[in-house]
């Protein structure tokens, strides 16, 4: 029992990331009808927003500290971050420590901007082109984006820790009546899951309760009709692309403490996220979220020692296997609508 709960928990954080990326992919696909292979790159750019902010916050200038000397007796040079000068040492350190959560504020405008530029500059011209062309051009864009990041940040993963307050783990088992230390779960993963739930809830609420969301939903159902009503759907779709980019970006920002960001993390997640979207049902937002969590948890179960002992290697292929089975038995995915991309 405890092992099962542990695996469910373990699957939730990865599932959250899948769900967030898949949500953005589905938004873009559902509204714009574009298959965006560069969506993983947006996730990656989000992660590097966190890296960038933490670098900005630790920008330092060198001062000579007369009170300290090195072993030769010379006055010691120390790097003092500018934030210390501005906010004082204690507050400055706290700000540096909280770089990742703060990066959310930094990433939102950046990601929206990236998304809007991408849509206006490139994607817009591909609405009427075949899906294969869309895949190809966004695939090219993904390569370009990841190479740009590689150029500026190098090829190695960059550790970006969570705030000290969230280090360590929560003894989940003890809290629900199991023996201590059976089910322990890092705090940051709990945060990540809650954060993902919040974003997903936010997106759904936004689509459900705002006029903007209503028009977008109508547009997803029937683009031409909404266009005929005289509603400037294109502009709304641009904004929608920005939002989808922001969702992917925030997923990336918050993921940095779990996995140190590197330039190819986007591609790694993209392949799986696409599988998630297809399993959930192309064009279905709830499907994307459901499939994201489902596959995350499944993957985690398949990694259990007991399971691997029975079916070796199953942890490596479970997601693909499920995708193949679903695609062949339920061509529209778990919650897909009829007629989406069926020709």
């Amino acid at each position: 029992m405890d092992a099962i709960i542990l695996q469910i928990l373990n699957g939730l954080d990865k599932g959250s990331a899948y769900a967030l990326i898949a949500l953005g992919l589905t938004l873009i696909f559902g509204t714009l009808g574009v298959v965006n292979f560069a969506h993983g790159a947006l996730f990656m750019i989000g992660a590097f927003c966190a890296v960038t902010l933490s670098r900005i916050l630790t920008l330092s200038h060198t001062v000579i500290d007369e009170t300290k000397t090195d072993f030769l007796g010379n006055p010691l040079k120390v790097d003092v971050p500018y934030v210390h000068d501005i906010f004082g040492i204690a507050a400055g350190n706290a700000i540096i420590d909280w770089a990742v959560p703060l990066a959310i504020l930094f990433a939102i405008p950046v990601m929206i901007l990236v998304g809007v530029v991408m849509e206006r500059g490139l994607i817009k011209h591909f609405y009427k082109r075949p899906h294969a062309d869309q895949i190809l051009v966004t695939f090219g864009l993904a390569i370009v984006l990841q190479e740009v990041i590689k150029y500026f940040y190098g090829a190695n993963p960059i550790p970006t820790p969570a705030p000290a307050a969230f280090k360590g783990s929560f003894d989940f088992g003890a809290a629900i009546g199991f023996d201590p230390n059976l089910i322990i779960y890092p705090y940051w993963r709990i945060i990540y899951f809650l954060f993902a739930t919040l974003i997903i809830g936010g997106v759904f609420a936004f689509l459900q309760f705002t006029t903007f969301g209503m028009v977008v939903r109508a547009g997803m159902a029937d683009r031409e009709t909404v266009g005929l009503l005289g509603i400037n759907i294109d502009k709304r779709f641009t904004i929608m692309f920005g939002i989808a980019a922001a969702v992917a970006g925030l997923a990336g920002v918050m993921y940095t403490p779990i996995n140190s960001p590197n330039y190819h993390m986007g591609m790694d997640f993209l392949v799986l996220s696409f599988v998630v979207v297809v399993v959930g049902g192309m064009g279905s937002l709830p499907g994307a979220v459901l499939a994201g969590f489902l596959l995350g948890v499944l993957e985690s179960f398949a990694s259990m020692r007991e399971v691997i002992d029975i079916i070796p290697g199953i942890n490596q292929i479970i997601i693909y296997l499920v995708a193949i089975i679903i695609l062949l038995t339920r061509p529209r995915g778990l919650m897909g609508r009829k007629g989406v991309m069926e020709d």
């Binding site: 062309d133 051009v137 390569i143 192309m282 490596q316 693909y320 695609l327």
Partner: protein, 400 residues
């Protein structure tokens, strides 16, 4: 070759000429000169040109003709490589049985995967092929280590049984792949003045296979089968209402292109007898997509050009570094020199992928027909200039 049209024959002769004289064509700069680093006429690289050319020709039979975009074709190349290495380990170091087995094994895998994947079309097909390939990659990397060598890859060893042949050479080395006594790695150099041209047996073996593959591709393109495939791409609905079940056609195309990939994998292992799982990863599948599109999907020569282009850039472009750039622009004033080098630097050396990505996007956006279409446009532009009173453009564009 009787039934080839004049154009096709010209194309075949051109490919044969280019591949057979590649050691000269690719080594235009004298040894030791500043430009010698752009020489691509060394065996290892030339082999890769033709092997990836074969891979891309095969991919194009599927994608170019039917429009089905597979994102998992590298998996067939991978199993081809494994099959060939196993043949070297168990049977003999002769490349012929190894390559035959590669093609057969890749054919069987593609039959199975194609049968399942082709039940869906469009993006679903792409995702299915991707999923299968990633599965095979993951398994080859982990559980199947006894068969695939896992992370280190599958290599020959001194104690391989090798039924028709010896486990070791008299000197106690691992034997090398060969063809009836000729070793694939053997080369001889021709020195003409300060030029050095290398002729490698392995390369010429691959080149002959490429020419044969290209000839076969021409035949397929011009056959009723090829026409059916183009019809599938153009209008599946009409195919169905013409009483044709499209699946056997697409499956046959899938298997043929999978066998081409297996052939490429077998050749790869014949040149260097090892096989690794990374050959099957989806980035490798993405690469053959890039080659085909860049060269011109659906055209005969395009994939070969694309493969050569990308492999050239990968190996030559990526070797230019900042020092070399500085040498080139040394004639400029210092400030300007530094400025130009700083601008160019991100695009060369390790950054060549960036150039490739940009180039690829440009091609998809502006030149959907790839380099071949680019060449055609330049040609018709030149023709239009030559004969001012001629028609402004020679091709009729579809109206819808």
């Amino acid at each position: 070759m009787k039934s080839l049209t004049k154009n096709d024959l010209t194309l075949l002769v051109a490919v044969a000429f280019l591949t057979l004289f590649a050691p000269f064509i690719l080594n235009p700069f004298p040894e030791g000169s500043a430009m010698a680093q752009f020489n691509a006429g060394y065996p290892d690289l030339m082999q890769r040109f033709v092997i990836f050319g074969i891979f891309a020709i095969g991919f194009n039979i599927l994608f170019g003709l039917t429009g089905y975009l597979s994102f998992g074709h590298a998996a067939f190349l991978g199993v081809g490589s494994y099959a060939a290495v196993w043949m070297f380990k168990l049977l003999s170091m002769n490349v012929i049985p190894a390559i035959i087995l590669s093609v057969i094994v890749a054919g069987l895998f593609s039959l199975l995967i194609g049968f399942v994947s082709l039940r869906r079309s469009g993006i679903y097909f792409s995702i299915l092929t991707l999923a299968f390939a990633q599965m095979m990659f993951a398994l080859a990397y982990s559980v199947l280590t006894p068969i695939t060598g896992g992370e280190t890859g599958l290599q020959l060893a001194l104690d391989d049984p090798r039924i028709l042949g010896s486990s070791q050479t008299p000197e106690g080395n691992i034997p090398v792949p060969g063809l009836f006594g000729m070793e694939m790695r053997d080369s001889f150099d021709l020195e003409l003045g300060s030029w050095v041209f290398t002729f490698n047996i392995g390369y010429y073996f691959c080149a002959l296979v490429l020419i044969a593959s290209f000839y076969l591709a021409i035949r397929i393109f011009r056959s009723p089968f090829g026409m059916m495939l183009r019809a599938v791409k153009s209008n599946q609905q009409r195919m169905n209402y013409t009483g044709l079940n499209t699946r056997p056609y697409t499956l046959a195309a899938f298997v043929i292109s999978g066998m081409y990939a297996g052939l490429a994998g077998g050749l790869m292992a014949s040149m260097d007898p090892l096989a690794g799982a990374e050959r099957m990863q989806w980035t490798a599948s993405g690469e053959v997509v890039l080659m085909t599109i860049l060269g011109g999907a659906g055209t005969l020569i395009g994939p070969v050009l694309g493969a050569g282009f990308i492999k050239y850039f990968e190996n030559i472009f990526s070797k230019i570094n900042a020092t070399i750039l500085h040498e080139w622009f040394a004639f400029l004033p210092d400030g300007l020199e530094d400025f130009i080098v700083a601008i160019l630097y991100p695009f060369i050396g390790k950054g060549w992928h960036l150039t490739l990505g940009i180039l690829f996007m440009m091609v998809v956006i502006f030149l959907p027909g790839g380099l071949v279409e680019g060449g055609q446009r330049i040609r018709s532009w030149l023709q239009a200039r030559k004969s001012k009173n001629g028609r402004p453009n020679g091709t009729t564009e579809p109206a819808e």
